[in-house]
Symmetry: C2
Subunit: 273 residues, 2 copies
């Protein structure tokens, strides 16, 4: 809860907004380690704010250890601005650090509810039909990196309890319920952190988040799970390898199937959503 206990800039203010934008550019490498940032006047013009606002944003970045300011020589990005985001295979969603075991999950809510209309549509269930809804946060080394909302048809979810879900990966619970997971379709996009998600992920409201929706089906094509995942981009990113195959005009990209070591823990720990 660092961001919440020690707010250096008021939520929703202009200085916080500029701070978030500059922090993003630094952690994503647009302004790499050692890079010289533009002067205060140029930043003020670029962001359409006053120099006072720029100075407050830079104060906060300096407090984070992301920049070094020296009189006369300008403002530079620090040599090692924070750690690299965890990389995860786009098929497993399991980041490296989770595979290594230093992770945990927090169950924020467990209920039987009517899902949002779009989720019901994607699940192919009738309007007004209830599903088991769970909200979890996943942490690596005590730091939250993902916010997961899962929806499971009521008859399948009847086979497990809130306590089960708090301790056992959902895929294991589905399989225990006789479900044979066969296929999935996933959509990757981006969104902004709403106040409740920001609190759970210990980031600022309005931060950019990577979003992923996965609709999981059994062999007969029935949706057995609907997952909405939100990830902090400073702590998590999706990776994939592509290879260029075919000849001449038929030449095209194909995904490289990941090495199996990434999958070994899938059925054995909490690393599965």
């Amino acid at each position: 809860m660092r961001d919440h206990l020690r707010p250096t800039l008021p939520e929703g203010g202009k200085a916080r907004r500029v701070y978030l934008l500059l922090r993003d550019d630094i952690t994503s490498g647009v302004h790499g380690p050692g890079a010289l940032l533009p002067g205060e006047q140029r930043l003020a013009e670029s962001y359409g704010v006053s120099r006072v606002t720029i100075r407050r944003a830079l104060d906060a970045l300096e407090g984070d250890g992301l920049i070094d300011r020296r009189a006369g020589s300008g403002t530079r990005v620090s040599a090692a601005p924070g750690t690299e985001a965890m990389a995860a295979d786009v098929t497993t969603l399991i980041p490296q650090i989770v595979r290594m075991g230093q992770h945990s999950a927090r169950l924020l809510s467990f209920s039987y509810d009517v899902p949002p209309a779009q989720v019901a549509r994607e699940m192919g269930i009738a309007e007004g039909e209830r599903v088991q809804t769970a909200v979890r946060v996943r942490l690596a080394e005590g730091q939250p990196f993902s916010h997961l909302t899962t929806y499971v048809p009521e008859d399948i979810a009847a086979n497990y309890s809130e306590a089960d879900l708090a301790n056992t990966p959902l895929y294991q619970l589905l399989e225990r319920s006789g479900v044979r997971v066969a296929s999935a379709h996933q959509t990757v996009s981006a969104t902004l952190a709403s106040p409740d998600v920001a609190q759970a992920l210990e980031c600022s409201t309005g931060s950019g988040l990577l979003s992923l929706r996965r609709v999981v089906r059994d062999a007969r094509g029935r949706v057995v799970e609907h997952l909405s995942a939100l990830y902090r981009p400073d702590r998590f990113k999706l990776e994939m390898a592509l290879t260029r195959v075919g000849a001449d005009d038929a030449r095209h990209w194909e995904p490289v199937v990941g090495d199996r070591s990434a999958e070994d823990m899938e059925d054995g720990n909490g690393g599965k959503a």
Copy 2:
């Protein structure tokens, strides 16, 4: 330039921030078509702002046609809030609409520069070495949806001109230069729109964007292109199909290789970054 010519809410203000968050929740389906939004007082508490600010954000959403407000019956999400985002295969990055031909590209800049340190590192080139840098915006039906920055080693880029790049897909130019594209590694994340990117994509500064980095190599492993792409999530999303294969403990996800029709135009039009 709609957002810039008719700003309904000042950039950087609290009302604009709440507007962006609510708009995101509506276009992403968190608040689906016809859903009842919480009352002004509850929204004010949730976002930590005044009711006046909430009302101004709702005014802007109403102006966009995203919500309907009726005295006595509250605020509902409109029946058809905007269009669906284009979906694109994660390997080709070509959205459906681009395949259908109603697209174009705008070359914003073309120069020979030293790339950001992180790009140089990922390209495996020496510090201070120059590369050909191009910034392009891609449009579908006249609407910008992606902002592309590409870096190409100087000796390869020497084979094409600014005019070539404005009219011909980069992959065609690379192949014409004798390059044999063999493999790529891509990373998917999220970021916030900086002022210059927001202007190019005709969105608000601080909007959430889907970001993708792709490092493309030839058969000998040399980096021949570095691509940084930013996408408006309301207009573009990445999709992929997965299949669950293997038996028992070895059961795992594998990507499904896309149908070839998605690739047919890859070497024939501007749909390739």
